[in-house]
């Protein structure tokens, strides 16, 4: 690049000395037709688009205008000043500062070019110094070189935009209409990414779509399952379609690291972090929010990583993802970000702050949205050595009215768990004991939907127990807690409803001494998998919480990941590439029967395709439940047919294999017979071919052990 720029310098200097106004439209330079100069495009589409957007090669050059016009004597002084200002922001390339001079008057022209090492530095320099006042008369106007180029090419006359004729899109939710009501999942192993049907009836998978190098880091379903997102160096992309996976939209974001969908799939948040050229500075963070369907950037946030790392106890380094948390269920109306002493809540109508200002909360360290309602729960830790208690408050958005507040004393840490319908909020509070030497844990349970939001305190039977895991029953009123000490902690189940309907929390049962450290409720509730991951080598217990009984215990040795399918019919357990061996996944029925297992080396990801919530009304669902027997008859018959067909197919397959094998055997017999004489010759005439095709023969061997003659009678 440096060499090229020097060349440019020379050309332009020459042109300037000859008095030619030199404007080169770099995009007008084209390679001869049919000649790619050895540059191979790996993806024609991507290459072209990205070419326009970032690849012109001058992304690291800025143009600084409104400089003083100085005679030759002062040239060096001015250059020194500019260099001083701009080298603070980033590393200017060698010969990367160029200030053209009028060849006649020998005065500068009032602008200069600066080339940085990276586009990020150039962008930062533009942001920081545009509008910089050198003195009253000289206010810098800084632009990216690429922008100049872009604006130069805007045609002078306005042309009406072309209106493309409407083309109906594909049904992106076709997969929901599968006749066999199967679910899909995506797996990533080695360089392959595959979307598969879970055909549990036939105990196998069926391929939907497979692509090598589909993504450069990971894949992710959108929350309602409509799209599959892939991540590339140039940005993110979403894929979907009725029968296969086509690229639906691309979102340009160089070096994107993380992505996040809004719950209603309307928006996609992308995140990248860039190393600063000055190692003392914090990383630069770029966050874009795209409209998923149009691909437009709705809002971008740029800044140093420090501005995005607030929260967490004691200033954990790095950005906690997602930075923006979406509220208000599937409406995608609001999103919020934690800041220093504030929570910034944006609305998606205009993508600006509600009431133009953030919600000020001194020392807030954590917040979370209700999954269904526009309520924020936020946590402020203890201040002033305990003089000011910690507190949890519930704030309504957009009115910013505090609905409920609870002060908590001698708190060391606090975690919030919402139940999926937003009916309950559990706050797990770690408190110091009187001596402050250790902590113990209690729960504050909020009943959001009841009048005045009553709060109840729950302590475990043995309040010194450590809490290992906590999980609400989805859509239900129960929760499970793993507590106690490894290696054999206890698991307790509680209900927010008690038998006498007193509105008090009640304990259902405690299972003693379980090898478990993680809880996985079925999305439909009622069933739960108690899993012992990591140190427990993949112990699984399938538990029915209605009956409080264990349905099955099993093991998927070394399992690292567990996920229920969205309908709660199947459970997938996987060993991902954190382990070298055993890579692959198992599919289980909800009651713990192993249906099938598939081994894949370098197994990275297993994700069920989410389903959108059903359109059936609650009454209709209840009705179906009531007449379940009637409906299930039909499906039972289908199941029977399938299993009949399967065993029929199986028999057929075996018959074919046997037949095929017989053919080989007879072929070999024939060849062996043909070669018999020659073989005998090789063995110097020894003929014992039949022994080579060994057959089990009954051979009677008589051995004479002893021989004696006795005279029995003597007369």
């Amino acid at each position: 690049m440096a060499a090229e720029v020097m060349l440019m310098n020379e050309i332009e200097a020459k042109a300037a000395s000859m008095g030619i106004d030199l404007i080169i439209d770099f995009n007008s330079i084209q390679l001869p037709r049919g000649e790619d100069c050895g540059i191979v495009s790996d993806d024609e589409d991507v290459y072209h688009d990205d070419h326009l957007e970032f690849d012109s090669g001058f992304g690291n050059v800025i143009v600084v205008d409104n400089l003083p016009v100085v005679p030759r004597e002062k040239f060096e002084k001015l250059e020194g000043v500019i260099r001083k200002i701009y080298s603070q922001i980033g590393v200017i390339k060698e010969d990367g500062l160029w200030m053209p001079v009028d060849p006649e008057t020998k005065k500068t022209l009032g602008y200069c070019f600066i080339e940085y090492n990276t586009p990020q530095e150039a962008e930062l320099a533009k942001e920081k110094t545009n509008g910089y006042k050198l003195d009253r008369a000289h206010i810098f106007s800084v632009n990216m070189f690429d922008d100049f180029d872009k604006y130069m090419r805007v045609p002078d006359e306005w042309a009406p935009p072309e209106i493309k004729p409407y083309t109906p899109g594909e049904n992106l939710q076709k997969w929901l209409t599968d006749e066999k009501a199967r679910d899909q999942f995506v797996i990533r192993a080695g360089t392959d990414t595959e979307v598969l049907w879970n055909d549990a009836r036939q105990s196998k998978t069926e391929l939907v779509y497979k692509r090598t190098y589909w993504t450069e880091s990971f894949v992710q379903w959108s929350p309602l399952g409509t799209y599959l997102a892939t991540v590339h160096r140039q940005g993110a992309a979403v894929w979907g379609g009725a029968n296969t996976f086509n690229r639906l939209m691309r979102y340009a974001h160089p070096q994107v690291k993380l992505i996040d969908f809004s719950p209603g799939e309307k928006f996609l948040v992308t995140y990248s972090s860039h190393e600063p050229s000055n190692p003392r500075d914090a990383n630069r963070v770029v966050i874009n929010i795209f409209d998923v369907r149009t691909g437009k950037v709705m809002r971008d946030f740029k800044g140093s990583a420090d501005e995005f790392t607030i929260g967490g106890a004691g200033g954990v380094a790095g950005v906690s993802w997602p930075v923006f948390r979406w509220g208000g269920g599937k409406e995608d109306k609001y999103f919020a970000k934690l800041g220093k002493n504030m929570i910034s809540v944006y609305e998606t109508e205009t993508f600006s702050l509600i009431d133009k200002k953030s919600l000020k909360v001194e020392n807030v360290v954590d917040f979370s949205w209700s999954p269904t309602d526009l309520i924020l729960a936020l946590f402020v830790p203890e201040l002033g050595g305990g003089n000011q208690p910690a507190r949890v408050s519930l704030v309504q958005i957009p009115s910013k009215v505090e609905l409920r507040q609870k002060n908590l004393f001698s708190i060391s840490d606090c975690k919030m768990y919402w139940q999926s319908n937003g009916e309950y909020l559990a706050v797990k509070a770690d408190r110091y004991t009187k001596t402050k030497k250790s902590t113990y844990t209690g729960f504050e349970l909020f009943r959001i939907k009841e009048r005045d939001i009553p709060i109840e305190v729950l302590e475990l039977d043995n309040k010194n127990d450590k809490i290992i895991a906590f999980a609400w029953e989805p859509k239900g009123h129960r929760f499970a807690v793993i507590h106690g000490d490894n290696p054999r902690p206890d698991i307790s189940f509680y209900s927010m409803k008690s038998s006498h309907n007193l509105g008090r929390v009640s304990k259902l049962t405690t299972l003693k001494g379980k090898q478990a450290n993680a809880l996985f409720w079925s999305p439909g509730g009622r069933f739960i998998v108690l899993a012992g991951l990591k140190g427990f080598n993949g112990q699984l217990e399938f538990f029915n919480v209605d009956e409080l009984e264990t349905m099955a215990t099993a093991e998927h040795f070394m399992a690292t990941d567990i996920e229920w399918d969205p309908t709660g019919r199947y459970v997938a357990t996987a060993v991902t590439s954190v382990h070298e061996m055993e890579n692959g996944f198992n599919i289980w029925s909800f009651h713990g029967k192993l249906l099938y297992r598939i081994l894949k080396d370098h197994f990275f990801q297993f994700l069920w395709r989410p389903r959108p919530p059903p359109f059936l009304s609650a009454e209709k669902e209840e009705e179906i439940l009531k007449y379940l027997k009637k409906y299930s008859k039909k499906y039972d018959a289908e199941d029977q047919d399938v299993s009949m067909l399967l065993s029929e197919q199986d028999r057929e397959k075996r018959r074919m294999l046997k037949e095929e094998w017989e053919k080989w055997i007879s072929e070999w017999r024939r060849a062996s017979e043909e070669e018999k004489l020659e073989r005998q010759k090789l063995r110097d005439g020894e003929a014992s071919d039949e022994e080579e095709e060994y057959e089990a023969k009954e051979v009677e061997v008589e051995e004479i052990l002893d021989f004696s003659e006795e005279v029995l009678f003597e007369e």
Binding site: N537, F557, M558, E580, M581, E582, L599, R654, L657, K658, W661, W664, W668, A671, S672, E675, E678, R679, L682, R683, D684, E692, E693, Y694, A696
Partner: protein, 326 residues
């Protein structure tokens, strides 16, 4: 029946071979001493002393008179089976990996490893009836395949040589001219090093085991892929039952990668597959390390396995085994 644990080797086993009558079992190991055992009770009969390096493989003549062994000490030795006397030593410039007697025992095919600037090679030696007339000359030397050639065996009527090794390609060579006749299809063939190759009793088909965690069954004449058996571990050793339609795969995680957390992690089992349906039908546990060698008794009623743990395990099948139905 309880397996018979045969302790005698001090280093990992490398190869096992029954004689034709099935009464003797020859074992090779990384210690320098091939050993012969009674194949029915596991009693040690004797050893063959003379090698100065790991012994990689052996073969015994049809009449059980001669033993041939290939060793990392860059020699191949002929022995008198009965007395244990060394009859002849072939010297090579690099370690000898695999040895195999031809039909009629008048020829032997030997493979040597790449070493220093030498490439790997397949040598054909004529074996004299009278050891005093034995000469060093090779009838034929074949070079070409990249990397180690882990196994080379004779095809039907000694007309061809089948080789397999590190480059994962099975090749069939003309044993007269050394010309390459066939190469296994890259698509359907093995993806990683082929560690083992064993012929059926009549030589019509053979089985290969590979680090790609599979074993494949091929037709010896046409090199057609007939069956594939997929397992969870790299395959180091394979064997075929001469009696039933069963194949056995042995292997396990590479000894250097074995975790110390759980004995199940290594899966050092001998896995039985149905030869025709390609389905796993059972497993025999026991070794504390990967299985490096497997052999079936020619009567099909017992088999032995040799492990990285230095033990040979001799298994006589229970009567139930012969009634397996799937």
């Amino acid at each position: 029946m309880r397996p018979i644990l045969m302790k005698g080797h001090e280093r990992p086993l490398t190869f096992l071979k029954y004689n034709r009558d099935g009464d003797l079992l020859f074992s090779c190991a990384k210690d320098h001493t091939p050993t012969v055992w009674f194949a029915d009770n596991g009693e040690r009969l004797g050893t063959y002393r003379g090698h100065n390096g790991a012994v990689w493989s052996c073969d015994v003549s049809r009449d059980s008179m001669r033993l041939i062994t290939g060793s990392a000490d860059q020699t191949v030795k002929l022995w008198n089976v009965q007395t244990g006397a060394q009859l002849y030593t072939f010297n090579f410039g690099s370690p000898a990996r695999s040895v195999d007697f031809s039909v009629g025992d008048k020829l032997a095919v030997i493979t040597t490893d790449p070493f220093m600037e030498l490439t790997s090679a397949i040598h054909v030696k004529r074996i004299a009836r009278d050891p005093t007339e034995q000469t060093e000359e090779s009838e034929l030397v074949i070079k070409g395949p990249q990397g180690r050639i882990n196994r080379a065996v004779w095809g039907p009527l000694n007309r061809t040589i089948v080789s397999a090794g590190e480059d994962a390609v099975i090749r069939i060579w003309d044993s007269e001219t050394g010309k390459l006749l066939r190469e296994a299809d890259k698509e359907s063939g093995h993806k990683k090093t082929i560690t083992s190759l064993t012929k059926s009793a009549d030589g019509s088909h053979f089985l290969t085991g590979s680090l790609d965690k599979s074993a494949k069954l091929w037709d010896t004449r046409s090199l057609t892929l007939i069956k594939t058996y997929v397992t969870e571990r790299p395959v180091n050793a394979v064997a075929m039952s001469p009696l039933l339609d069963h194949v056995v795969l042995g292997g396990g995680q590479d000894a250097s990668a074995v975790t110390t957390t759980d004995h199940r992690a290594g899966k050092f089992e001998a896995k039985f597959f149905d030869k025709i349906l390609q389905e796993e039908i059972g497993g025999v546990k026991g070794h504390f390390g990967p299985i490096n060698a497997l052999a079936f008794n020619p009567d099909g009623k017992s088999f032995s396995s040799g492990g990285e743990d230095g033990y040979v395990r001799l298994h006589h099948f229970d009567p139930d085994y012969f009634n397996i139905k799937i």
